[in-house]
């Protein structure tokens, strides 16, 4: 039994509780709890587990030994003494299994490989790709994923799942995507899974980023966290009591399309007055164009011939280079985003609100107007509770989230 490498099917069986009952069921459940606890706490001792899980030391000992035999845990040496005999501590085996995360952006893809210990062992950023709602674009996406898998040196059957982030309406349970690649009767997740041969899960991009940030960012034990994804659109990931909130069909967090303005700007969702029409990357670009057409100048235009080629990254770069026009528009947009965020704080009273997404990388140019609008527009007793932070994980966030959500799905954590 010893040193037997765990394969995909083997691991699924370890945790599946179908058709089991009685002692077998209880042992499986306990093993899952052990893994879960070590997953959160890192290395742990038998005594600690015994207290935490209200189970006797000998029982924990025997389960731990089984888990070691199954290749999921290992003995990582001894803790420093707490006055008596030193305790062995046990941790997850990093190479027990792997997960792939694919973060699909508008103009590129980030893709990564996560091991069992939640380390992102491979991360490829900004692979050129243009997200379009066409079968060709979907085919291209799958080609990129397959190429990535081929590059990996680990045993392929140790890859237990693929998580893919898309923007728009995604039902994570059924695997349907409604905003992109909705060509067939079959759920998109199933189509991709068939093509690649590994269990595949879809997730809304903002939600995945929220989870990545929650697991790997500085969250100081916060359990109720909002993640605002400020990109071309504006998305929201909601964590309640440490768990992602989906809503009935996984459409929660459509923050960008709340009716917030009394304007006549048509949103790409078909409605008017959406928050996104005046507080998003898209509206930033629209305002930038208007200003340029009015005769204003900006360093962002230096390298471009056509104004339609301007991307968010150009404007961010220009702002960082002290370009006045870009800084001004950012402040304008920030004030409106902040008003929207004030609304969220009033409704959720969260411990932490994280600003993420491409636009959040402009730093203070966006953060300061957001912060002052939040103070202005939310109840002070409520907003005093909320820490406002900017994501520090950058492009990693979405990939991490995709991997971690997949990991949870596979193990039903």
């Amino acid at each position: 039994m010893k040193n037997k490498l765990p394969k995909a099917q083997h691991l699924f069986n370890l945790f599946s509780i179908e058709n089991v009952s009685g002692v077998v069921y209880k042992n499986k459940a306990l093993k899952r709890l052990i893994i879960n606890y070590i997953d959160i706490k890192g290395n742990t001792t038998i005594t600690d587990l015994s207290k935490e899980l209200n189970t006797s030391v000998p029982k924990i000992t025997s389960l731990i030994n089984e888990l070691i035999g199954e290749g999921l845990l290992k003995d990582n040496g001894k803790f420093d003494s707490t006055g008596g005999r030193r305790a062995s501590f046990y941790g997850l085996v990093a190479g027990a299994c792997y997960f792939i995360g694919v973060d699909v952006k508008r103009f590129y893809i980030n893709i990564g490989l996560l091991d069992f210990k939640k380390h992102l062992v491979v991360l490829k950023e900004k692979i050129p790709y243009k997200l379009e709602n066409s079968p060709e674009s979907l085919q291209q996406l799958m080609t990129i994923i397959k190429a990535f898998i081929k590059e990996q040196t680990i045993a392929k059957d140790k890859i237990l799942g693929i998580g893919i982030n898309l923007s728009g309406r995604i039902n994570n349970t059924t695997g349907y995507s409604y905003s992109y690649f909705h060509f067939h009767e079959e759920p998109l997740a199933a189509i991709i899974q068939k093509e690649i041969g590994i269990r595949t899960f879809l997730e809304n991009d903002s939600r995945a980023m929220a989870y990545g940030e929650f697991c790997c960012g500085e969250i100081n034990n916060a359990r109720n966290v909002l993640f605002v994804n400020i990109d071309y659109g504006i998305g929201l990931g909601i964590l309640i009591d440490g768990k992602l909130y989906y809503g009935k069909s996984g459409f929660s967090g459509e923050f960008g399309h709340i009716p917030f303005f009394d304007n006549e700007i048509l949103c790409h969702c078909g409605k008017k007055g959406c928050l996104e029409t005046e507080a998003s990357g898209l509206s930033l670009i629209r305002k930038f164009k208007e200003k340029i057409e009015q005769g204003f100048t900006s360093s962002a235009m230096k390298k471009k011939k056509d104004i339609n080629e301007i991307t968010l990254l150009d404007i961010i770069a220009a702002a960082k280079n002290e370009d006045m026009l870009c800084i001004e528009i950012l402040a304008e947009i920030g004030e409106k985003i902040g008003k929207g965020i004030a609304l969220l704080i009033n409704i959720f009273n969260p411990e932490l609100l994280i600003l993420g997404g491409t636009l959040s990388e402009t730093g203070d140019y966006l953060r300061l107007p957001i912060r002052s609008a939040v103070n202005k527009y939310s109840l002070s007793l409520v907003n005093n509770d909320t820490q406002l932070k900017t994501s520090k994980l950058g492009e990693k966030t979405g990939v991490l989230g995709a991997c971690l959500i997949t990991r949870n799905k596979v193990f039903s954590f």
Copy 2:
């Protein structure tokens, strides 16, 4: 042991898991699970519990017998046969303990007594009371509660807790009320508890109503439910996965004070442009006054000399009597509330949204404009998921919620 009536302290001990471990802990935990399950399912059989809790039949049998001895459960006869020997079914003992719920409204109080089986055995509606932020008003509230307790014929020590609903910011964990009766260093809940001698918990009114509706209304197994309390103000109770959502300090659901309008109307919270300034009972009354002052007529004014004496109930009554002015204003307000609700639906993608509170009793006059605004302003894919219902529990809602939340607190369900 048999027929020993449970007293308050005895019941607390039954469920407290402090300073216990090992087998004792596990048995207590299992007993709690049994009670919990019967609480939700109603009568249950030993076989059913055994499957549900993954515990052997003999073990469940012995625990059930203990619980019967402790006066919490009783044998309620036999189920109809399912093909073989008929199973005994066990249910809660209604009179095992009681809880008091106090729903404090602006101009009256509703108060009730709930038994262990969640039946509201006593309900006194509309006890005259004027909510003012003064020590006298607090004293009067406590006097009413004490009088109510005195009236009850059950053993006083069977009343395990009192729940009190107040509007405004309430921290249910610490027992502080920030909007009303915030006179002392000590939490308000502790002050009342000391005066009355029974464990006391505070709750935000909308949240309590949400919970009352969730437990006793028609919710069709929905787990993510929003309850919009349309009264003088506009509140929101949020249920996520069947549990009340509080936020960091219990200030979640400040829906009435989201920055939603670009107006100059000063809200009682101190800010401008709150949803409440144009979509609430207060704004309804303000608009009504404006119209009357402009020379419009209404049957609601017939019985009143002073326009300042008009209450929400007057306007509701007039609308039900086909008063055109009131109906028009209701439609106007409904449209705005609906726009606010559209926002909630986009963010929460709930299975169910319940309209409650005094104003919801106007029926279609308010519901129809709300419904059409919801369709107009929320994403159709998202709002297709959401059932919109009007509360049918009426004044009971808040009292039920207060009792049930207290019951959960006492038993840490």
